[in-house]
């Protein structure tokens, strides 16, 4: 029983990473019908920006000689990285995708992959092959409740992720910008006829998705402190699987499927040798998709109406 609870917490942690990243894929897809294949590398860049921000903050506070509590530094790091990474998202939309908005979707997808490769190799070019390790901003505390061991970091990771998801939910449901996003996901061609520019909503969506990916990057760095220019590849693809599993363009679906992915992986590893984990986990997901080709909350494609 303890063992199961223990793994429950691990699954929630991995699910948080997948869900936060999957949301970005899903949001962009829902408004532009486009898979943003740069997204995994935006996650990576977010982690690096967070690393840079944390390093600078630590250096500054040390050289000034004031002691700032770790949690405050962590919050600042997350906020700075979310802000800067959202700018990156805006640039990717502006430079990479906007010129191709009416081009075949495959061209846009390839553009996304190429920008991703540029981010990876650009990172290598600038920072070299050296691996950086994410500074531990807060002390790790391990709790033992009835034989279940967990750390304050795991709780924090899951807590911050859930908080950000609720924030996103409120934004989409309650704000006028969120309303415009929902409208755009329903019928983007008519949105301009409401006097609303697609060129406001699209960058905003990229910005939010990128900010969430950045948060995921830092949380990931807290759990697995070694940064690597290719860290966004596998995690990005797996989160993309979650976005598809949730149902193309479904925000709720992406979050739920992200957590489901975490659970499938962790509980597969509980039963089978860990080398077989992904093999078995993704076979299960393949089977789910065979029976639910549109994912949990996806709609079959309707013929796109002509305006």
């Amino acid at each position: 029983m303890e063992f199961v609870l223990q793994n429950f917490i691990n699954a929630m942690q991995w699910g948080s990473f997948y869900a936060l990243i999957a949301l970005g894929y899903s949001m962009v897809y829902s408004i532009l019908m486009l898979f943003n294949f740069t997204h995994g590398d935006i996650f990576m860049t977010g982690a690096y920006i967070g690393f840079g921000a944390a390093t600078v903050l630590l250096f500054l506070t040390a050289s000034v000689g004031i002691s700032v509590p770790g949690w405050l530094l962590l919050i600042l790091t997350i906020l700075i990285s979310m802000m800067l990474t959202s700018l990156l998202g805006i640039i990717v939309e502006r430079v990479g995708y906007r010129p191709l908005r009416d081009a075949p979707r495959a061209s846009a997808a390839i553009t996304g992959l190429m920008i991703g490769i540029i981010l990876e190799t650009g990172n290598l070019a600038v920072l070299g092959a050296r691996r950086f390790s994410f500074p531990s901003l807060i002390e790790t505390v391990t709790y033992n409740i009835g034989g279940v061991y967990f750390t304050n970091k795991k709780i924090l990771i899951v807590g911050v992720s859930l908080f950000l998801m609720l924030l996103l939910h409120a934004f989409i449901r309650k704000s006028r910008w969120g309303m415009a996003m929902r409208a755009m996901s329903y019928d983007y061609q008519v949105v301009p006829l409401m006097g609303v520019s697609l060129n406001m909503i699209a960058p905003m969506t990229f910005a939010i998705g990128s900010a969430l990916a950045a948060a995921a990057g830092i949380l990931y760095g807290m759990a697995y402190p070694v940064l690597d220019p290719y860290m966004g590849v596998l995690l990005g693809w797996k989160s993309f699987v979650a976005a598809i599993l949730g149902g193309r363009g479904s925000i709720l679906g992406a979050a739920l499927a992200g957590f489901l992915l975490g659970f499938i992986e962790i509980f597969t590893a509980m039963i089978f040798p860990s080398t077989l984990r992904d093999l078995i986990a993704y076979t299960i997901i393949l089977l789910i998709l065979t029976f639910r080709p549109y994912g949990f909350f996806g709609q079959p494609y309707t013929t796109q109406l002509r305006l």
Partner: protein, 237 residues
Amino acid sequence: MQMVVENLKVSYGNIKALHGLDFGIEKGEIVCIIGANGAGKSTTLKAISRLVPVEANSIMVFDGHDLNAYPPDRVVSELGISHVPEGRRLFGNLTVIENLKLAAFARKDRAAVQDDMEKVFSIFPRLRERGKQMSGTLSGGEQQMLAVGRAFVSGRRMMLLDEPSMGLAPILMLSMFEALKEINREETTILLVEQNARLALNFAGRGYVIENGRIVLEGNSPDLLRNEEVKKAYLGG
């Protein structure tokens, strides 16, 4: 003239949809364009709304502004030209109120927006009752009311209407056109596109007949209603 269109040409790839239309509309007028399926009616409205690119030397001027210099959202938000597209195209996943609020998204004059919403509700009381309902679950008639209401809130110097009678029972059709008259009295110029020529000509002061992307006839509605060709082709003999 509030709107002047000269030599309007539009192609979809190799298909020429409009071969050079010339027309003008005075402020406060109700003008209709009638024509058969595929004649180019919707394309004309889409060109004005800047949803389709026009060919070189196509002139479209509204209140002294060159429409070609405006992206579609600013045609609505800055020039005040709203468009009720063919098939209503409501945001079915948004409530009635949200659809109206979205139409006012870009407007800065918050107080006037509130007035306009009230006006929409007084013209279409049904919409007030249905405020919190998802627009996708409205009846066809209610949807058409919302489509018009939405356009009214988004921009009201001129309203472009693409077949507002489509799918409405005759009695609803009449009340819809009564409502449009009321909107017109609020100083909104109306350009209406219709297949139902009799209805359109009874409603509008003037009309243009287009065939295969060309204007073949124009005149005051009573004259067009009496015109033999119009009778034969569009009024059922």
